[in-house]
Structures are given as C-alpha cells and as structure tokens.
Symmetry: C2
Subunit: 344 residues, 2 copies
C-alpha cells in the first residue's frame, strides 16, 4: 500500500542521517540520561529497583504480512509486544531500542510510518526510545526491539512462583487477535482472486483491532498495586493460553485444571470463529498475540478481584503429576496440548 | 563450509527448545539475578553506577559473507562489536541479549557453532547472556545484539567532551580489519574462478585475525583507570578513523588536525595494502571494523601516556570552524572526508 506514496530512497540519507531523521521527534523522559547519539545510551537506575530486560524479533513473512498490515500499526504492535513482557514481570517499561533491517523496496516514507507507530506507543506508554541500528537487508523487513524496565525486587513476578491450589486468572478476553488474523487472511485471498472486490470487514472492528493494534496491560500493572495483589506467577499471552499454561506449569512445577466455560471470549471473536467453522475455545488456547496477562494468585486474594471486570478466574493449579487439563463445557476432562504459535 | 557437517533441522527442536538448547552451557555471573527463561531478565544495578545500553544489527550479505566467515568467529565478532561500544563509554559490559533470524539453510550444528563463538566472547569478557529471540527468516542470517554495561557516572566518557587543543589519541593500529577483508574477498574470487586453487593466506595471519577475530579493548578500559586518565571524549572505531573523527568533532563542536605519519599501521597491513595498490592511510581512515578506541585527552594528561605502546597521539582538536584536516607525510594539508563504511 505504501509503495504508491511519495517515495524517497533511504540511501539518500545514509545510515546515520536516517537514525537522526527518524528519532528527531522523540522526547526523552524517565530515568534516561542520554538517548540516541553516542556509542551507548545512559540510564540512571532508580535506587532500590531492579532492571528488567526483554527482547523480541519480528520478521516479515513470518510474523507479519505487509499486504494488510499498515506500517504504522506494525511499529506500534512491535513495541507493545515488548512492553507486554515487562508488565508480565510486574514491572514498568522505561526504555526501548529498535533495530531495523530493510530491503531496498522500503521508502523513507514507509519507515517514517513505522516510526510514527513506534512513537505513538512510546508516548502512550511513557517509554523512551534510546537507541537502535539500521541496515539494508537482502529481502524484507526485520524489527528487533529490546525493552528495559524497572521493578521493586519484592514485587517482581516470575513464572516460577505458582503453588498448588493457586487460582489461575486471565485478563481481558482471548482469541480475538487470532480471529482478526484469520479474517485479514481471508480478505487477502478474496482480494488476490478478484482485486475489484472490496474487503468485507463490517462488524469485525474488535477482532481487527486486536490483531492490528493490540495494547499491553499497563492498566493491570497499576490495578494490581491498587488491589494490593502480588500474583504468585505471571506471564503474558503471546503464544496462546495453552502454551503459556505449560510455561507457568513447568517453571512452577505444578499442573493446571482449566474450565472451558470460564475462558473469556468476546462475542465478536466467538461469532467469527463459528462463521469460519473454528472452535472458539481452540482460538483462545492456541491463537496467541492477545497480549493479555495470565497470572496465578493465592486463594487468600480471591476476594480482592472477585467479580472485577478485568479479571476472570479460569482454573486452578494442581500437583505437577496431575498434568494440564481442560474441563470442557460438557464436563469431560481432556489433557491439554500446547499448540502455540511457533516461528519454526 | 558447515553445510557438509552432520545436519539436524532447527525445526526439530522448536523455538523454545532451541533457545534452551543453545543457552544451556552459559553460566550467569555479574549482577544478573535471572537470565534466560522468563518474560524478561532481571538485573540488580550496582548502587551508584549508571546503566549503559548499546545495540547492533548484523545482516548476512551486508555485514558478513559466510563463504569465508566461520560461524564461530561470526558469533564472537558480533559480541565484540557490541562490547566495544560499552568500552567506548568508559564502561564495563555486563550482559548481552542475542536475537537471531535464520533461514532453513542453517542446521542446528551451524547455530551451535555460532553460539560457541558467542559463549567464548562471554567467557573472555565476563559477560552474561541474559536473553534473546529466534525466528526463521525468508533469506539469510541476521544477528541483533544488545549489550548492557555499567559505569560510574563521573567516569562515563561521551563523544561530546573534546576541547580545543585536546590531544587526539588512538589505541592499537588501524586498517588491518579492512585489509583482512580485502584479502579474504580476493581469495574468494580466486576460489570461485578455480576451486582447485588453495587460498594464499601465508604471512597474513595478522590482518585475517583483525577481520575474523577482532577483540574489544577491555584492557584499555582498565589501563585508563591505572593511568588515572579520564578521556575528554571517546568513540570506538567501527566505521573508520575519518568517520569517527567527524562524529567526535560534531558532538564536541571542534575540528581536528591529524598527522598522516602518526597514524599507527601494522607492517602486515601496510605491505598488503601496497600489494593491492591501496593507500595504507586510506585503509586506516575509511576501513573500519578495527574496534580500536579513539579518544581525546587534555594536554595535562600527555605525560601519563607518553610513549605508552598501546596509545598513539595522532593529532589535536582545533576550533570547529577550522574543520577536519589531514596533514600528509609531505606536509600538505587536505580537508578530511568521512568515507566510512555504510550499511546503505
């Protein structure tokens, strides 16, 4: 889509000119002493807090399809995916670095769009862009982001803290991003078969937004403090609920029993999945990219989030030997399989 | 070269299995509280120190050629390039994250070799591998590394601190990595023309090592403390002496006069450049990848490093309006051009 816009070659700016140009609208706040422009950025750690570091790699044709993914949304989502990892540690993201490899197919205008999305995410989540590197690539676009955050060491939430009988809790609803992906892929196929057909996206705004413009759960990070809940374990849902349950279970040495009827699924997600003959529960279990948080809490904390609209209790931790199970709506107990999305 | 070794498909391990497998031999030291295995790594900052962050992206076919670059050396060099940036801030690197995008052409054995090089660098430079991400790529190999270090805020050396009349100092010698590159490229062409011809690398060990297995100047970081020198400005030489002079000059608002006869060039570099009809001085000015340090010091510190074998005074800072000049061996004064290596 961007190939038709006014086109300036990236090579006309050069590597250093490009970084300077793209980062000129970003402002530095937080505990950043020096951002882009030297051999390294300088951060003054907040006394008493620990530093959190997470990194993610997005590859065109593997993680995203630019035929329907606008560059600005891609920039925004790439940042969100990283911030989500910091929130999943019960920490606050403060800085990011962004490295890009770009083939000659990308114009300066396209990269500016990508950075506009990165900037929007930085502003909304109060994060500083402090560094990065850019290079040509032989083919396609690759984005590598590292997020840096801070947390009080007593509040950091690991994957490994879940105890038997802890409640398994999920934020928001699941499966929407995956259904949005299926919808966009469907419309892409329709368009490729007949370019004169307009895409039929009416009524599906919610799942499209879940795919193209997800948010990280900054509000949950704040809410947990307000509710005075420290989860015993936490992880973000980037690869699907089932896969994340296995990660939590393995790190904490527990099993989980999940109740299918409790898994929160938005009506739009549900209806679209049914339209495509997909099982909505399977979309939630294996879809991924929802960037919700999956946490375990002590039963003592149950009252603190009972009936809270942002949290749903979907199960509980069992002995590790019991394994992972889904209790279906019909009352059957099935062994859970981790069929999360994989980049290989 | 690695295509002939025993071949295990990466997909047989899956994304998480791959990361676990590759990182299993790494040990954590330093101030890392938690390395690979959760949503984010956890670092306990050393009280009173600031955090330094630098990131670099290496793309096959742009930054390296695997037809003569062994995977183990590539892993080592990729880490070195990042650590060099931390030393250039007068800081001590402590952690790295490594993200890889790999096409299906790469076997597990090839990636193990890459990680063997990364591990060797981590051990030699006492750096912890704390995270990373892996993905398939449509074509080729991409390596994104972020290095994290620490420094006393009063000792951090920026590009911006050089003053008029400060001495311009370089460590080690220059142009070797570029000549090593030229040599390897020449032998590659010979081989492609006639695969039965053995490469003629005899006597050129030094420049090959400068290209394939560079080191970061950890020793200079330590030496500056011993000599009680705080440079007024510092940068590492990754893109060539001329380009780095322009970076320092621009950030510090000074010009520089460089003396051609003072630029340290190893005899192997000199002789090879002459053999190829290249100007050895130009190799030093524009070659890059030497990972030496370029620093400015107050004239008051002159005695501290006078005649020290690791340092060479090559010029001095002038008023910005005077610009950048090279005073040639014949006594002529030429305006310096920044013809550093660029990834675009």
């Amino acid at each position: 889509m961007f190939e038709n816009a006014g086109r300036t070659e990236i090579s006309s700016l050069g590597e250093f000119g490009l970084i300077t140009h793209l980062s000129k609208n970003f402002t530095i706040q937080n505990n950043t002493q020096l951002g882009i422009g030297d051999d390294a950025a300088v951060i003054e750690p907040t006394q008493g807090l620990h530093t959190l570091v997470s990194t993610d790699l997005l590859v065109e044709g593997v993680h995203f399809d630019l035929s329907y993914f606008p560059m600005k949304h891609l920039g925004y989502k790439a940042v969100i995916a990283n911030l989500s990892d910091i929130y999943a540690m019960n920490g606050k993201p403060k800085q990011i670095t962004v490295s890009l490899a770009l083939s000659s197919r990308f114009s300066l205008e396209a990269v500016e769009e990508l950075y506009a999305g990165i900037q929007l995410a930085c502003e909304r989540y109060q994060v500083d862009l402090i560094g990065g590197d850019t290079s040509t690539s032989k083919q396609g676009l690759m984005i590598s982001i590292t997020a840096i955050g801070e947390a009080n060491p007593t509040e950091i939430t690991y994957r490994s803290g879940a105890k038997v009988n802890d409640l398994l809790v999920v934020t928001g609803d699941l499966g929407g991003a995956y259904c949005g992906y299926q919808l966009l892929e469907r419309e892409k196929r329709v368009y490729l078969d007949n370019p004169s057909v307009q895409p039929d996206l009416a009524g599906f705004d919610y799942i499209i937004e879940r795919q193209l413009k997800p948010e990280a759960r900054k509000d949950i990070y704040e809410l947990l403090k307000t509710l005075q809940i420290k989860p015993s374990a936490m992880i973000d849902i980037s690869d699907g609920l089932a896969s994340e349950c296995f990660h939590l279970g393995k790190a904490s040495n527990v099993g989980f029993n999940l109740y299918e009827e409790k898994i929160p699924i938005d009506p739009t997600t549900y209806n679209f999945a049914r339209e495509l003959d997909l099982d909505p529960t399977l979309c939630a279990l294996s879809g991924g990219e929802d960037y919700e948080l999956l946490l375990t809490i002590s039963q003592n904390d149950y009252k603190k989030l009972e009936n809270h609209p942002d949290f749903t209790i979907i199960g509980y931790a069992s002995e590790a030997a019991e394994g992972m199970h889904l209790i279906t709506k019909s009352g059957n107990k099935h062994a859970l399989k981790a069929q999360g999305w994989t980049a290989f």
